[in-house]
Symmetry: C2
Subunit: 139 residues, 2 copies
Amino acid sequence: MERIVRKYRGKGFKLTPQRIAILKFLEGNTNHPTAEDIYTEIKKKYPTVSFATVYNTVQALRDRGELLEITIDPERKHFDPNPSAHHHIMCTGCGKIGDVFFDYSMSLGLPEEVTREFAVTGNHIDFYGICTSCREKTS
Amino acid sequence: MERIVRKYRGKGFKLTPQRIAILKFLEGNTNHPTAEDIYTEIKKKYPTVSFATVYNTVQALRDRGELLEITIDPERKHFDPNPSAHHHIMCTGCGKIGDVFFDYSMSLGLPEEVTREFAVTGNHIDFYGICTSCREKTS
DNA sequence: TACTATAATAGAATTATTCCAAGATAGTAA
DNA sequence: TTACTATCTTGGAATAATTCTATTATAGTA
């Protein structure tokens, strides 16, 4: 019995073959795939899968707090199956996204004029940079 | 002679009435408008203005480093005519976006496994919270 | 004043995402 | 094991944001 089936069975989350394939693809995936990346991958095994299924599934996972929607790339959304609080860095050359596991919360005090207006609930840091392979290409 | 005309004339930036209207609308605007917000406003005075003109103009401004594209709202892009390095906070109730003028760069050291792969060039922090008026509504 | 490079326009095209109705099926209760 | 039903999957249409294109207009300049 697979880990994924064990994790989701009987929790109000219907496990269909397509969903299992999506869950397997996402599990431990640190590539921050887009909806299209997921769709393309699942289509290999389930050629009739639709974007609706991909979006439905990531939405269900997001609602369960098991997946994050990432906005660092202005072009499209990326998804991160690691829901623990962390941050991201994107290569401005090739668009690759990496994780930044570091808790900055102690360092992010806000100016009084902001806390006067907002009750702060969270934060997320986008870092930008150039990755190793992009630096090699241009040097 | 208007300030805007003085600022842009003779700098390879063609000043048309529509552009002047957009520039005036953006100047000092801290509401982080969307393309549609800009379009709707300019349409009042220039009813034939098109979205293409709005997008062309904000792109030209972005390329000149005079405007930032903001990704804090997963639904759509917002624009910020203040290009100085600062951060943003969005109300998760009503979507209102506020500015956070504080330089956190000294606090944002990155783990070695990240700097090994990326030459970091910038950062931007998205804060989330609930604004005053949304708190009043739900209490 | 006239010329030319650039902008504005309408509308089509593209892309990302959501919605919908019909058929299929996983999970459950008997 | 069977049968039921709530939920999922699907294709395609719909929506929304953004970009592109060809044509016309015009700001800036010479």
